[in-house]
Symmetry: C2
């Protein structure tokens, strides 16, 4: 991991003094809103309004220019015509202002003239050391301390709390901060990174990761300028145990790219981004409610100790909706423990009724006639059950008092447990009295089943990533005996694309098993090689100019004796010459025929942003048409390799399947790890590896590369 | 379609008079709430509180018993101990009350004693003709007219409007009616069907379909008691042009069933339910917000004339989130028309900036400095564009006034177009002033991108289903020349499972092409048949006792001459005897070898609820492991067959693919329609058909059944 330097953002987020230029007396104007908000929010530092036309602005003494301010200024907000920004920024530099927020539009985002303006301010940054947020941003805020360096509606309404929020889009920031407020989520800081002329999204996230008053960070990310920084931030987030919740667009564009047939082109960068989220415990969300619910859950809940979910519900219908949404996320719903079952049958005579699910507890039968005592006891019992690590509770009260009883009992139970409890309210929120009751607890309330299930899954997944990070600390790929220097020779030996045989030899140096094979230059040599390998055999032309051997008729399978071998030898050569008369033909590859294995593909390609990426799938149309493959960025750990294999939908075919024993999964894992090591050592000189197919034999019998293509850079 | 009789529910939903027994003076008690609500809502009919202990209840004259009421009573609400219900119901019968609502719990849902109680009231129903809603329900309401026959929180808060709502779950009803209110959705009627001792969900839906004041119906459905009724309601919904929005649970249970390998067991009834929704234009939703947004869209929007969506946004970020969610729904986003592009470049100099998407219009550049006039003109231009049939607008204003300008311009534009416009507000709702402005229009406001996209897709899909229903009216499968009587002979000719050869002959009678083949009883006969068919050939044992021919070694492929044929003949027989010494062997099937085609499977199976179901897929692990198949309930129309083929993920392999021309899709459609006709004629005597594989030749060359299994009932 490269060492990344991050800037000091203290002057932006904890300024002792702020200048606002040009400050307006009208609290509805763009230059008036930030001043109004800072005053209303009780900012404790010094505020210096700058306005050449007024001595007092909104009741505070104003100065004609930045340079006229008699004291030190930490940060300046520049609200003015784009054309005036550079001049005032120079005044800031002279005044030794440390930081400037430039919300103004009219810079690189409009191209042309704007691009020039932006270049000019970047130049000022570089030569002076002043740091810049923006331009074309909605600015930033320290919500707790009244630092309001921007003029969006967000500045007016944000409430203080422990979520840090960074958005690359200003429009999205101003729309979603009010939504955080509606959801009851308080913010420590928020910032829109805008054109990122100087500071970028990850600089801000780093500040929040270090900040003791921020527990969770949410971010809207459009694209990555600096991949190393992203990977570093991801590690820091695990290191510090501060979950990073990311909303990122781009699946649809990438889906189009992924439609292309080649392995390399399947690796659209959004797919890789998604893989990194899985590897590094980043929580990826896909919509606004999903972001709200997940933020709420991480802000309020302790991490679950395991993945066993208990569902406690006043409605079988709502439970069913939860189960439907949980289906695709691989969530675990164990049954109630025997102990709970026994105690429950004492409290609720006749329970469970026949057909009732023992892993989803419907407490409707305890309501409403016999509550509140009964609902209190059943809820207590359920939450305590040792079979559950995390609880989803559902409240669908028929009338007001029943709802209060359920919520009270949940709050009571939550005080006696470490287990996270999430409350699903199909009503879309609680009634006034219930809101008061639940405020005493750390139970998040979510309105939709899908969001509730996703938040639960995110808590579990993050808890696992965090634990595994703490246990392994540094991901180390296994060391191999391969001689790196020798392998590097391959890159000097000719063209960029290695022939099949050369590709396999290359992989073999890294300890990846290949088929027994040799190149024959004559039919006699072919017969001799066949004698050593043994039948059945495969013959293939060895030519860098014929990639699609099947189309060319340049491959013969299942050759079972010498007569067939001889005729196949000539046929392969004849077909090859016919197919591509100018092809350079180096010989005929005589190869062991692997008949029994299951075919998979393993490959690496270079993502333009993320570097070497490792791919696993069943190959053929499974990979190309059905998109059933898994990805990770190199290097990978053993757990990553395991997950890659289990993640594909076709995984079942590698288990005991149609009378076959389990495939040798350990050998696939071993191959993936060796490929990862190869990427670490040689990622800079190898641009693509395509092992297609890797033949996977039955458990304990290993794997063999049956065909491969290595492309050097 | 069978003729279904529906009961008259006028007395429940439009009663001239209501009796409430026992009515309570306390408006917070269960017997007090309905009376309080009826008074507050201004019910115009007569109310007769029944209470043996009081002469006046909540200011209205009360009667000691139902029988003491001096006038006619249309409907009675029975709020009392479960044990007392039957007696009071008898009094209702004597009083000639037409309808009774029994919200009380303690009936079939608790089993035992409760079951007996329910049997008793069903008996009263049957013998007297009184109709019953419930028991174990949250009752019902005519919201407009103050009919409040139930005591849930829903009765207190519902607002009048044009959505009818039916729920099989009382708990879900009481939780979601307040949510409709929060969403601003008014209801005509709502009802929980409860134990459905007499009336069921579809009886209520039928009433609302006939009701002139209900435009759209939403329903929560748990299971189907009467499938014919469901299918009839689905047709009626299209006939009357009243969309039916259904939330149904059960995907997850079915997923478990679907994990089993056999074709028959894949057809879980939830999958079939889903297929029917697609066939009949029913809008299936999967969560609460999804139900709210979809209801809102159908209540407010006209149906779009086509499927071309325009996205008009103040945020590229929000547009990206929309595109990501739209990806899997196959939605169409055409580019702006040339005309609009030209006019736009006059209004917005420099637009579009390079790289800007021409099919998603980001109007942020028209904001905020130059609004409101500019945003008005750009929005007008966009909405008018002839390339769009439906508009998604996104508003993410930085400050208050910008939001008002966008909303005003949208409202203005909406008045001049028939096109539906849906507004996505990432803020999670509008500001107060914006709410006032939009109230003048029929633009629904949705808070989440996924819900917005799903509602848009639902409007488009329903519009297509409605149009296609009106055009075809009655779905007619093509008539075939097959002699039904003769085909029926097969069922008399022996066991239930037909051999491969008999199965194919059966299908052939319905005009489905099969491989050239015949049964040989001797090696000489085999040679003679081979002469007629021509090489290459396949040999298979013909035995009802050997199903898995490959495992038994009882199949030989690619036989290319007489010598191979003779040796294969004996080998097949020897292997078969070895594999299953007691097997009845009828001969050896000599069969044309189809080499060039692409393999698909086509089948039918009997769903226990829905009857004959038709299945299409690529077969093998595509179908079994990856679950990539499509279903429809027979009979199907040509458009259904087309959709079935295009719906599977592997569809691409049937198009021009890897150098092959398009497969003969018309012949697959033809096969599916012939199978559908077979289901209509013989669905009662055939329980399963498995054509696996159907070999599909290149376009224009047809299909051939290579292997098949028919099971008779």
């Amino acid at each position: 991991m490269k060492h990344i330097e991050y800037p000091d953002l203290e002057a932006f987020f904890q300024p002792q003094s702020m200048a606002i230029a040009w400050a307006s007396d009208d609290p509805l104007k763009l230059g008036g809103i930030p001043l109004k908000c800072a005053i209303e929010r009780g900012y404790q530092g010094k505020i210096f309004p700058v306005n050449p036309k007024r001595e007092i602005v909104q009741g505070i003494k104003a100065y004609p220019s930045i340079l006229d301010i008699p004291e030190d200024v930490d940060v300046a907000l520049l609200v003015m015509r784009a054309d005036d920004v550079a001049d005032v920024l120079w005044q800031c530099v002279k005044k030794r202002v440390k930081a400037a927020v430039i919300p103004v539009v009219g810079f690189a985002e409009i191209g042309g003239e704007g691009k020039k303006r932006q270049d000019e301010i970047v130049e000022i940054c570089k030569s002076s050391g002043i740091r810049i947020c923006g331009p074309n941003t909605n600015g930033l805020a320290n919500v707790r301390e009244g630092v309001t360096l921007g003029y969006s509606y967000a500045q007016e309404v944000a409430i203080p709390g422990r979520l840090g929020y960074v958005s690359q889009s200003g429009a999205l920031l101003s729309a979603t901060v009010p939504r955080f407020v509606k959801t009851g989520i308080g913010l420590s800081y928020f910032v829109a990174s805008g054109n990122q002329a100087d500071l970028d999204t990850f600089d801000y996230i780093k500040y929040m990761l270090d900040d003791p008053d921020t527990d969770v960070i949410a971010a809207y990310i459009e694209g990555l300028k600096n991949v190393d920084k992203f990977l570093d931030i991801a590690d820091l987030s695990l290191e510090k145990g501060k979950p990073l919740i990311v909303l990122k667009v781009g699946r649809s564009e990438e889906a189009a790219k992924a439609a292309m047939a080649h392995t390399a082109s399947m690796v659209g960068s959004d797919l890789v981004f998604d893989a990194i989220c899985k590897q590094k415990g980043i929580i990826r969300v896909d919509d606004f409610d999903n972001m709200m619910a997940t933020s709420l859950a991480f802000l309020n809940c302790k991490l679950p100790k395991g993945d066993r979910i208990g569902v406690l519900s006043t409605s079988g219908a709502a439970t069913g909706i939860i189960a439907d949404h949980a289906m695709n996320l691989g969530l675990h719903f164990p049954q109630l423990s025997t102990k709970t079952m026994e105690e429950a049958s004492k409290i609720l005579p006749g329970w469970p009724a026949s057909g009732e699910m023992k892993n989803f507890w419907d407490i409707a039968s305890a309501l409403p006639g016999r509550m509140p005592d009964l609902s209190k006891r059943t809820i207590e019992l359920f939450v305590r059950d040792e079979n559950f690590d995390i609880i989803i509770a559902v409240s669908t009260p028929i009338e007001r008092r029943a709802g209060e009883a359920v919520v009270s009992a949940l709050v009571q139970a939550s005080k006696e447990t470490e287990k996270p409890i999430i409350l699903l309210s199909p009503m879309g929120g609680l009634l006034e009295r219930e809101v008061q009751i639940i405020a005493e607890s750390n139970i998040p309330v979510v309105a939709d089943a899908a969001d509730c299930v996703k938040a639960t899954a995110a808590l579990i997944k993050y808890s696992q990533s965090y634990k595994s990070y703490k246990e392994t600390k540094v991901v180390t790929a296994p060391l191999l005996a391969g001689n790196v220097k020798e392998v590097k020779q391959f890159s000097k030996s000719g063209g960029k694309t290695l022939s099949e045989h050369a590709s396999k030899e290359f992989l073999y140096r890294y300890g990846i098993p290949i088929t027994a094979e040799a190149i024959a230059k004559s039919v006699e040599e072919a017969v001799e090689i066949a004698g050593r390998i043994g039948y059945p055999l495969v013959l293939k032309v060895d030519s860098p100019d014929i990639i699609h051997k099947t189309d060319a008729g340049a491959i013969k399978l299942n050759i079972s004796n010498e007569a067939e071998l001889i005729s196949a030898y000539y046929e392969v050569l004849a077909n090859s010459s016919k197919y591509e008369p100018k092809a350079k033909i180096r010989g005929v590859l005589v190869q062991e025929m692997v008949k029994e294995g299951r075919e998979v593909i393993v490959g690496m390609s270079h993502d333009p942003q993320f570097g070497p990426v490792i791919i696993f799938g069943l190959g053929g149309i499974f990979t190309e048409v059905l998109k059933d493959f898994s990805l990770r960025v190199a290097p990978i750990a053993k757990t990553d390799a395991e997950q890659m294999i289990k993640e594909i939908k076709g995984y079942k075919t590698l288990e005991v399947f149609r009378g076959k024993p389990q495939a040798d999964l350990e050998s696939i894992i071993d191959t993936l790890l060796k490929l990862s090591k190869l990427c670490t050592d040689l990622g800079h000189i190898v641009s693509e590896i395509d092992i297609n197919p890797l033949m996977v034999l039955d458990n304990g019998k290993g794997v063999k590369v049956a065909d491969a293509l290595v492309v050097l850079s």
